[in-house]
Amino acid sequence: MLRLLPIALLLLLGCQSETEPDEATTTFDRATLLRHWADDLIVPAFEDFSAAAAAQSAAATDYATEPTEASLGRLQEQFEEAYLAWQRVSPYMTGPGESVRLREQVNTYPTDTQRLTARQEIVYELPANTDVQGMPALDFLLFGVEDPALHRARIAEIAGRISTLSGQALSGWQDGYRDDYVASAGSSATASVDRTVNDFLYWYERNLRAGKVGIPAGVFSSEPRPELAEAIYHGALSKRLFLEALAAGRAFYRSEPGLADYLDALRVERDGQLLSERIDAGFVSADAIATDLNADFATQVRLVNTPMLRLYDALQANVILLKVDLLQALSINVDYVDADGD
């Protein structure tokens, strides 16, 4: 990648990183970058998730037809596979993922279990019913109830919807959006690089850092809230989900051409070290801390919360490097703000 950018480098050698970023970033071959992201990362992630969701839906239909220990076991396995595949696609909600409201409908937790089980009929399209569907609802119905067989029709319904939605998002990419995405190679706020990076950071900050770690660890409340962790009913999955998500984030960041070598091309340093290496080290240290935690984050919070807070701090250190330093180097503005509480 470095060889592609002699002009950009010359421009940057004699100045502060803030002074000429526009020249540098427009010199970067954004079309190549976008093609790589779309064809090698994003579309394959949607294909994987769509396939896993279809397999989960098929297993749920089997279970609904013939509820046995064996068919339940197969469904629970497919659930784990689909949930892991979800983590790998969740950073990529730019475009079809957003229009389908895929993340909201696939992974909003905690589930309102009372409403989920009390309602005869659920209109899944209604925004107010976002919290009675998706993988968290399946987590409850498969692992949190006395007899999942009593809920097998609803399980099949929800698994079917996840499969439908993932299929819609995938075909959105395949039927036109991929080309629009690659063609929108400018540097405006609505062009693909800006939007992809913003959506990635939003995911990192809200879903990875806050949703999986900070919120259950009580960073945003007066007390720890273990009941707000991911996959609480399964009881041994949330660490794997987190690690899968973190690895997906790191893979996107390091993939070439990608953000890390983009930074290297610009020779961005912080405190005498390449910024790209500092950010990568942040991913590695978060992974190391998380690896030592309980398989179930809710259990970890209940037993000893301090390591969860350390994990949060490690993730937070990278928020600053990504959201301030990286965005500044790439001349990208943050397009989201803290959500209102009201």
Partner: protein, 404 residues
């Protein structure tokens, strides 16, 4: 004190040039909002705290479709249609109260004493939002909204409830109330010289004569009532900045939001300091300082709805451009719509009038709904940004600073 008066006059004349300086006072301004006479606290504003709490319950009740229009009206008025006593609140203390939210909407001395017509029009606006929520939105509570059809829209992982134009009446009502109740009562009533100096208030205050059955003088109490609309729901009202923003969903919360914008950092501390200084000035009988501090508060608090209106408008414009559906902008635009309404209750101390009057505010609101047949569904970023620029000009704010 007399030797200082010319200095004071100078300071008032060149107020903008002096405002960074410590206030010139020959008396102590306490660190917290704590004032006493003969060992007993003279600070009192229970009526303001009650109205804030009633407003909280009322705004919350907009989101329960089981409520009838009559129930919401009871909460707004704290009386029945024939003036009978009602108990519409969850909090028994509020049911026991005789205060009313509606009775103090558009009820200030400066703006509405001789304008019952406009006062009635404002109250009719609020009544209308209640009526419309119940009759338009509640019946469509479990249905998706579309252009021209009320119902739910998605805002992230949650639902918002909008009318046929995409507007959330609960947001319109709540943010308008920040203007129609909190700002109007604070800026245009209790901080008004016409109220502070009414009847023999100066003589009784100079003599330290308490109001009937109270520890405070009438003038002290009027000032405290202004304070109560801003800080009356604070966990510790004497030291409100510690919990600013967490204490209510109205002026307190949005003063905090504006204060969080680095371009306006310190505005909350300035307002708090001006309240303490003005109150100390009343105790000392220094009415020039009192009025100078009142003007400071009027100017600062007037910025709150203006900055928030611009902020939400610009955010709405961005959301239309980057979102996959116009509905992504509806929540921000609904907040903006309410804050725009609130602008008619602001108070420019230089003119004694709002920075942007009722007619202009209603015109901006009409433009926000006027790009097509379906209001916010058809609204363009260009129209939104033009309205934000109009507000910024009226308040001499910088668009970019307010938008952050």
């Amino acid at each position: 004190m007399t030797r200082l008066l010319p200095l004071f006059a100078l300071c008032v004349l060149f107020f903008t040039a002096c405002e960074e300086d410590e206030p010139i006072t020959a008396y102590n301004v306490p660190e917290t909002y704590t004032f006493s006479r003969n060992g007993a606290s003279t600070v009192s504003f229970p009526g303001q705290t009650e109205r804030i709490l009633m407003s909280e319950e009322l705004v919350g009740a907009f989101l329960d479709p089981q409520n009838s229009e009559a129930q919401l009206d009871d909460m707004f008025r704290n009386e029945g249609p024939n003036g009978e006593d009602v108990s519409p609140y969850a909090d028994p203390a509020l049911n026991a109260s005789t205060k009313s939210v509606r009775g103090k909407v558009a009820a200030s001395r400066d703006y509405f004493f001789a304008d019952a017509t406009t006062s009635a029009a404002v109250r009719a606006d609020f009544d209308g939002w209640i009526e419309a929520q119940v009759n338009e939105v509640f019946p469509r509570w479990e249905a998706l909204a579309a252009a021209g059809v009320p119902g739910q829209v998605a805002d992230g992982s949650r639902a918002r409830y909008v009318n046929a134009q995409g507007l959330e009446y609960n947001q319109a009502f709540a943010k308008s109330l920040i203007g129609g109740l909190m700002l109007d009562q604070t800026l245009n009533n209790y901080l008004s010289p016409a109220v502070l100096d009414e009847a023999d208030n100066r003589q009784t205050n100079d003599a330290g004569t308490p109001a009937d059955g109270a520890v405070y003088t009438t003038m002290e109490h009027k000032w405290d009532e202004a304070y109560g609309y801003v800080f009356g729901a604070a966990a510790d009202p004497a030291d409100p900045l510690a919990t600013l923003g967490d204490d209510d969903s109205f002026l307190n919360e949005y003063l905090d939001r504006v204060n969080d914008d680095p371009d306006y950092a310190g505005i909350a501390a300035e307002v708090y300091e001006a309240f303490r200084t003005g109150r100390a000035a009343i105790v000392a009988g220094d009415y020039a300082t009192r009025d100078a501090q009142a003007d400071r508060i009027k100017e600062r608090l007037s910025r709150v709805p203006a900055v928030r209106a611009i902020f939400y408008l610009m955010r709405g414009a961005d959301a239309i451009e980057t979102g996959s559906s116009p509905t992504a902008a509806f929540h921000a635009l609904s907040e903006a719509y309410g804050f725009v309404y609130a602008l008619q209750f602001t108070h420019d101390p230089a003119t004694g009038a709002p920075y942007l009057d009722r007619e202009e505010a209603l015109q901006i609101q009409a433009r926000l709904l006027g790009d097509g047949a379906h209001g916010l569904w058809d609204l363009t970023p260009a129209t939104i940004r033009a309205q934000a620029a109009t507000i910024a000009d009226s308040f001499t704010l910088t668009l970019a600073q307010a938008a952050e």
